[in-house]
């Protein structure tokens, strides 16, 4: 199994491969992942140019541990297969499938990735996949998409196209996205993969952005798509456990371990009732804190 399937992905920043100035040093902003875009951001007549830039950027720029995901063109174009050859040859970490609607979409991409890994001598299984759901049909099929491949690490909502398909618009309140968000996080958790939220496009409304991130964090999402470096610190702040969270999680884990040995099932920690049901959540908090670099403990 690829060890990066469950890596930390709080912030996934889109970058247009058509623009060399954007893809040359995004690691200075320290997002967890970058999404090098060959799709919507790239003008139709520059699709070829974006690929050469992508290939050499992947080969020659040291992104300092930031995950490099490549968004390929849609499966309804004649571009996506060459996109995959280019991205896999360059050594990307993952492929993002746009407009995913079925498990078959994922399997088509997986087969092309397998062929490219073989053609370019890359380790079998080294290229992961994520799927963007951008339509009502895609959201309805979220669980089958999540379960379609062992390489698939997660799904992401693409709010712009999704709301267009619902025949509504992005309101800024999140009301129009509620159903998709809830359905997708449940499907992702049922399948054991990660779930990522859509972009927030109003860069002038940072308070609205913060509320949006707080909402999806509460809902259980693993991270959010980002379009501007200014958004990264807010996402990381909200998705990184606080010192108080970490201390409490440590107490919960230690107390459950101790009480279990004593044959005690229910007890209190800092005045809160605790039983075995809290164990996994506390362990997750500590794992997230460790991955975020704010916890050096041994639990």
């Amino acid at each position: 199994m690829n060890p990066n399937l469950k890596r930390l992905r709080r912030s996934m920043m889109f970058l247009n491969c058509q623009k060399p100035g954007l893809i040359k040093d995004p690691y200075i902003y320290a997002p967890d992942s970058i999404m090098l875009d060959l799709e919507d951001a790239v003008a139709e007549r520059e699709k070829d140019a974006a690929r050469y830039s992508l290939y050499h950027a992947l080969q020659e720029i040291d992104y300092r541990g930031v995950e490099r995901v490549v968004r390929i063109n849609g499966l309804d174009t004649d571009l996506w297969e060459e996109d995959i050859r280019c991205a896999v040859a360059g050594g990307c970490d993952a492929i993002r499938i746009p407009k995913t609607e079925t498990a078959e979409d994922v399997r088509r991409v997986e087969n092309a990735v397998i062929a490219a890994e073989k053609e370019f001598g890359r380790e079998d299984g080294s290229t992961l996949i994520m799927a963007a759901l951008e339509s009502a049909k895609g959201v309805m099929n979220a669980f089958e998409v999540c379960s379609a491949s062992e390489r698939l690490f997660g799904i992401a909502l693409s709010g712009g196209d999704y709301t267009k398909d619902l025949q509504t618009t992005i309101s800024g309140t999140g009301v129009e996205l509620m159903g998709a968000r809830q359905h997708m996080i449940i499907a992702a958790r049922a399948a054991g993969v990660q779930c990522f939220d859509t972009v927030y496009t109003n860069l002038k409304d940072m308070d609205g952005f913060r509320r949006d991130v707080e909402t999806i964090h509460t809902m259980g999402f693993d991270g959010k798509s980002i379009i501007n470096p200014r958004q990264i610190p807010i996402v990381h702040e909200i998705f990184t456990p606080t010192e108080k969270d970490i201390i409490f999680a440590e107490k919960v884990v230690r107390e459950i371990d101790t009480k279990k040995a004593q044959g005690i099932g229910v007890f209190t920690v800092d005045g809160k009732m605790i039983d075995i049901a809290f164990y996994d959540g506390a362990k997750r908090t500590l794992a997230l804190a460790k991955a975020s670099g704010v916890y050096k403990g041994d639990l």
Binding site: D48, Y55, A57
Partner: protein, 99 residues
Amino acid sequence: MEIKKAAVAGTLESSDCMVTVEPGSGTVELDLESAVIRQFGKQIRKVINETLANLDVTDAKVTVVDKGALDCTIKARVECAVYRSNGITNNLPWGGAIK
């Protein structure tokens, strides 16, 4: 590879370069313009010539206007212009002639 027709790749934006290739007259003729030509002219020429050699281009007129592009961008723009001049967009030799 033969340069079949004139082709352009890149822009004049910062960190980019614009590469034009045209059919040559027997050799590679390179015309380079760059704001950093005194410091990096030699290196930029080297990258362009190596990229053309990898693509087996031996007969071309090449014009490059550099706006502070990294080596990886210069290679990408030269390759793009050469393949555009041949109308090739698929089954490209990633890791082969493109390296």
